[in-house]
């Protein structure tokens, strides 16, 4: 699936994108208070500690909300209609992604989903979500 926009890993976000390359949804967890967070940040939004570890999340959650995008921006024409969704991960944080491997009209709030990694080029994989297979 080609994407006109690729993520750019910076010093704060590189572990997340490296995790994707290795097939892991790696998120930050505060070493001081234990709260998971996303998107990546140098400090914990709960206690402001900068001590944290990168931990592989289970990669499962539910659709919290979603939109089906019909009107394509330049470069995205081949992808419409596509589903942009907020996933509520089991660990707590929300993640923005796409729901794939399901017809857009069948996506609903509460749908159980799991991560699947899509290779874009040799150096980037995107964490997308599909209905739980079981």
């Amino acid at each position: 699936m080609e994407r006109p926009v690729l993520p750019y890993a910076n010093i704060d976000t590189k572990p997340f994108w490296d995790g994707c390359l290795e097939g892991q949804l790696r998120l930050q967890r505060c070493s001081a208070c234990g709260v998971w967070r996303h998107p990546p940040s140098p400090v914990c939004p709960a206690c402001l500690s900068d001590a944290h570890e990168w931990v592989a999340a289970r990669g499962r959650g539910t659709v919290y909300t979603f939109t089906v995008v019909h009107e394509a921006r330049r470069g995205w024409e081949k992808l419409t209609p596509y589903v942009v969704a907020v996933i509520a991960l089991e660990e707590g944080p929300h993640l923005l992604s796409n729901i794939v491997n399901i017809a857009p009209e069948k996506v609903a709030i509460g749908l159980a989903v799991e991560v699947t990694f899509a290779e874009l080029d040799g150096s980037t994989k995107l964490p997308l979500f599909q209905p739980v297979s079981s």
């Binding site: 979603f66 923005l96 796409n98």
Partner: protein
């Protein structure tokens, strides 16, 4: 906090020409609005010692207020740029009052607007959000997708319907038909709204505000000085700013917005409540936004915004006319600047065919951050 209520006033209002593909720069539109505000106030440009702007995205520039002041040939003692997107113009009013109160200046020109359809290149300038890497690769590229996520959540939690979003679009267009400066003046029906194509579900084309070339300017000074000037003062009774999130996907709640705290702060300063408000000018980049803002400003209970906007309640002649000039949806975009000028015109009783009879108070919202940043202003035609 209550000390500034009623002690400052809007004494000049100017709107640029408004349209699509006017072929003029954002700066040209801002200067036109500024000149018209000066003429409206009966003030010479030398009276302006404060300038607050929102930089154009069409021709991005640093130090925008300094550039504008230079082009106007004035040397203000206080000037700054506010880059809070759709909350910027309302936030400028807070800043103007704070700057005058601090003794940094006496008479502030605030001006905002842009040439959104007259630029040649890509629609967005250089600014990027720090979370772009976690949004744009997934196709969340612009406003419709973002606000759609919140609107869908509101539908899920409270049973809000697309037809209720449509009631907002119909009301704004009905009002725009009475506003000679509005860009979209042909009335629409709910059926036409429902038949318009999806942009990003649940938003249809007629749920989305078009981009336009437009700017508006206001002049703010002390109430004492205002009483000696040409126009009937529009008093600033309540000012409030609120925050819940800068990026929607990570908001703790998507359906209670920053309007709640901003509104509470403005009401407290004004010593007024929702029942005291005669007209509302609410940021409406998408139809969902004024609907949820009405809830958070306390005009109805949480979750009842959908029912509230139905049945003509928000139309002229209804219990609470909303967006009497047509709003962003039908009047013009200007990142919400026209909501402020329209509210001021209503307070003067000068809105002609779209005037709300006997209107004495108006509530205005600016917002950005996909409902996470809100500025609430309460205007009055007497100092309360």
């Amino acid at each position: 906090m209550s000390t500034v209520s009623g002690r400052y006033a809007i004494v000049g209002v100017g709107e640029s020409d408004i349209g699509r593909r006017l072929g003029r720069s954002g700066m040209a539109l801002q200067l036109e609005a500024a000149k018209r505000a000066l003429a409206d106030a009966g003030l010479d440009k030398k009276a302006i010692d404060g300038v607050i702007t929102r930089p154009s995205h069409a021709e991005p520039a640093f130090n925008y207020s300094a550039v504008l002041a230079g082009l106007m040939g004035i040397a203000p003692s206080y000037f700054t740029d506010i880059a809070l997107s759709g909350a910027a113009t309302a936030a400028m009013v807070l800043d103007a009052v704070a700057a005058i109160e601090a003794g940094l200046c006496t008479t502030v020109l605030i001006v905002s607007g842009d040439a959104q359809t007259s630029r040649g290149g890509p629609r967005r300038g250089g600014a990027v959000n720090w979370t772009d890497d976690f949004e744009k690769p997934f196709g969340m590229l612009s406003a419709p997708e973002s606000y759609a996520l919140a609107a869908r959540r509101h539908m899920h939690e409270f049973g809000t319907t697309s037809a209720q979003f449509g009631a907002v679009a119909v009301a704004c267009r009905k009002h725009a038909a009475l506003n000679p400066t509005a860009v979209f003046r042909t009335p629409i029906t709910l059926a036409e709204h429902q038949a318009s194509r999806f942009v990003a579900e649940p938003f249809r084309l007629l749920d989305c505000c078009p981009v336009t070339d437009a700017a508006a300017a206001l002049i703010v000074t002390s109430a004492e000085r205002a009483r000696d000037l040409k126009q009937k003062p529009v008093y600033l009774l309540g000012l409030g700013q609120g925050f819940t999130h800068s990026d929607l996907p990570w908001a703790a709640t998507m359906t209670t917005t920053a309007a709640k705290t901003a509104g509470e702060r403005a009401y407290a300063m004004a010593r007024l409540g929702p029942k005291d408000i005669d007209v509302a000018e609410l940021y409406d980049c998408f139809t969902y936004v004024p609907l949820v803002t009405l809830e958070d400003y306390g005009f109805c209970a949480k979750g009842e915004g959908g029912a509230f906007v139905e049945g003509g309640r928000i139309e002229l002649g209804g219990a609470l006319p909303v967006n009497t000039g047509g709003g962003l949806l039908s009047h013009g975009h200007a990142s919400g600047a026209l909501l402020l000028s329209e509210a001021a015109i209503q307070m003067r009783g000068a809105a002609g065919a779209r005037q709300v009879a006997n209107a004495e108070t108006a509530i205005v919202s600016g917002q950005c951050g996909v409902t996470g940043v809100n500025v609430c202003l309460i205007f009055g035609n007497h100092p309360n």
